[in-house]
Symmetry: C2
Subunit: 502 residues, 2 copies
Amino acid sequence: MVPPADQLACIRSIDAATDERFGPPLPVDGTVELENACAAAAAAFDAYRQTSSEARAGFLDRICFEIMELGERLVDLAARETGLPRTRIESERGRTVGQLQLFAELLRSGTWTRTLIDPALPDRRPLPRPDVRLRMIPLGPVAVFGASNFPLAFSTAGGDTASALAAGCPVVVKGHPGHPGTHTLVAGAVQTARDATGMPKGAFGQVMGPGIALGTALVADPRIAAVAYTGSRRGGLALGHVARQRSVPIPLYAEMSSINPVILLPEALRVHGPALAASFVASLTLGGGQFCTKPGLVLAVQSAALEGFITATAAALSCCEAATMLSRDILDAYRRGVHAFAAHPKVQRLAEERSEKGYPEGQAALFRCAAADFISDPVLAEEVFGPAALLVCAEDTRQLRCALEGLEGQLTSTLHMAGADLAEAADLLPLLERKAGRIIANGWPTGVEVTHAMMHGGPYPASSDSRATSVGSLAIERFLRPVSYQNMPAALLPSSLRDAQS
Amino acid sequence: MVPPADQLACIRSIDAATDERFGPPLPVDGTVELENACAAAAAAFDAYRQTSSEARAGFLDRICFEIMELGERLVDLAARETGLPRTRIESERGRTVGQLQLFAELLRSGTWTRTLIDPALPDRRPLPRPDVRLRMIPLGPVAVFGASNFPLAFSTAGGDTASALAAGCPVVVKGHPGHPGTHTLVAGAVQTARDATGMPKGAFGQVMGPGIALGTALVADPRIAAVAYTGSRRGGLALGHVARQRSVPIPLYAEMSSINPVILLPEALRVHGPALAASFVASLTLGGGQFCTKPGLVLAVQSAALEGFITATAAALSCCEAATMLSRDILDAYRRGVHAFAAHPKVQRLAEERSEKGYPEGQAALFRCAAADFISDPVLAEEVFGPAALLVCAEDTRQLRCALEGLEGQLTSTLHMAGADLAEAADLLPLLERKAGRIIANGWPTGVEVTHAMMHGGPYPASSDSRATSVGSLAIERFLRPVSYQNMPAALLPSSLRDAQS
């Protein structure tokens, strides 16, 4: 049960660098606010989904404008609440606006409706064929749960909200308690845009509160038709359980966990070893290692070149400054994960362990183990959220394949290869396709482009639904379903299905 | 647990008209056969999915040929096992072949891979954009559960098998115990086609056995990646539970139940009343009412024209011959459903109850109730599988809308309208879109065209997944997921993603 709001303390922003509260107290929502938000979304559904694609594109454009209008205030607040550098927040804001623009562009292109028309065949024998036309329509109100590690791009007005609003689904965002101030500012910008473009009030609503009761009640609300979630596996599985136990089960798209295996093939190691060590460390420590696509697992067949790579990587990591982590909870979980690896009897710590500084620093950590041990202990394939990675050394290609076959589903998998590696890469590719949603050649998995061809998702448990992406234009399809119209008079057909348009 | 096969009796065909066993004893499969089928499917997956679209189209074409080669033997056997007329079986065979051909055509068109290419932008600032390309790949081995009421088109080589094989997924069919002889013949035809076209053995396998243990074990097998099911709600929900409880949950596409509301608008009743009565009776009794799209619910606002329609319908129904039902179990369930309606205090039986003949006859039944009573008792909206329908008389349009709003998700909804009804039809359309997957104007829901624009599915519980159709070319998408390739050397790219093809 969600307690009434007045029984709860207000929520406050927390400075990630100092763990101190700051800023104004922000209202916490209870049963009444949740009921209001869901009722408004349901009431707005038919009106909102029948707005034109151009009108919704204008709404998304206006959200971009209102977010940019928040200016330095938004950048300062998001940086302070998350501990992420201002430059990173600025580029994430650019990405957020880019996502909204991508969906505005998609709406204007008209391709998202996937119109299909099979004209009548009145002379067909033995029976005439009716006229059948198909389009996609939105599912209904969508609940969005943002991620702690992307306070803008995977949060209040992030890709999930942008794609759901584009589809014609009203959105109810559950504000992330890790950045309540940022959430409140951005939610206000979306509401301003909504009102300025004449969209129904219920097209966008938000609730905020700590703990799991409010989010659970949101997913259980019978008016919610789908859920988008980015976060921990535990959280995603718990909300998925709620979504399935409803009297009408609904789809929950949860992007949950991934260790993003990277395979270093022999020739690449020989030719590019030192450069690979430098680029690996840069990717591993980017944003404090707090990316869902952080390279958490590196696999290679043992060789002198691999030993050189390991030595260079360990040396580079030892020089890295510790990073301010997103929150005290995330730092604590990271330290627990690192300690568990360090204490594992089959695992060797490579980067020199520096005397641990106090809060909020997360020191990068690199571990090594033999492929045989990795294969026999699934604990070694669990995600540690933060700047930690495990190097797995295989005796031969067969053992490397065996280690890969044992992996759970992943967001990404990466192949580093040069000249003579091509044949082995080709041999590994079908296996990697079965394991991951995105396959990268000669790069690192961090950095997810917002483009039409991007797949950000993957086989379970990287995502709860391997058919869905949360980045790129295909993300809109999570919130659409087909409807066929048979022998429908032209006057009743949606405009996209009328003959003039076909 | 699935018992070993040798502990089970063999399965026999049952003549639907006499309830007598006939034909040779057919083998029943146990744990060993299930293990073999799943292992073969998994082993074949990479090889089968990498066959060319043209090769798989050739496989589907060959299945058509082999099915037709079975000739009269197949028609005789299916008619005897199901009690359906030979002409119906012949037309269903045509539809089955048409489905296989639709997917062969889709494969040859190349559109199913949904290729997207975002070329690199090496000069982009601050960071260059990588080359990102996306295609769809198959999920993995698919388990198919056919329906009792379509021994060919929704069974062993029906739409689910055709779309999964087209997608590149190996298929393991669980043979339907209601038509084991038909299943065995068709499975043999598919295996002949598989071998003749050089497809791997594991691309198509089958198991058969009575009861639920074998099907449950098939869905639980870790090598199965998706399930397609057409049948009862109870069966679909039970298998869905198994699919979700696995350590790696998988999608289950279950087409379950629907009462297919038909709305008769006032002008249509006035102008076309007698013709509507005749066409309604024809649709209701077609195939013994044993269609998932049977019109089980008719709604209208009370009027003299409605009374005329009801009288004409009841008279026509009383003249209908009783139908041979698919099986003793289905007949018994139908009679229980009819008796429950007849005993309901708020329901009136319209078609005269004839003295019930013995097995296997299912007598058509028509009931009537007031919309207020329909709205207040959800039992009245439950499906009765067979030739029964309920007429709901509303006091006014508002009450009609209220009755519609209370309905569960449906496969279809139908509007009969004439001249002055257009405005009210337009008003109802958004509501019907929210409730159903296909909306029919001035027709009846039976008869599902196999075309690109067909949607056969709908909001829960018509289907377990409102985004999926089991008929039409979009059915292939149930078994596909996107994979992105980033900066992949041309030599490693799948041929559909190479530049020459873009």
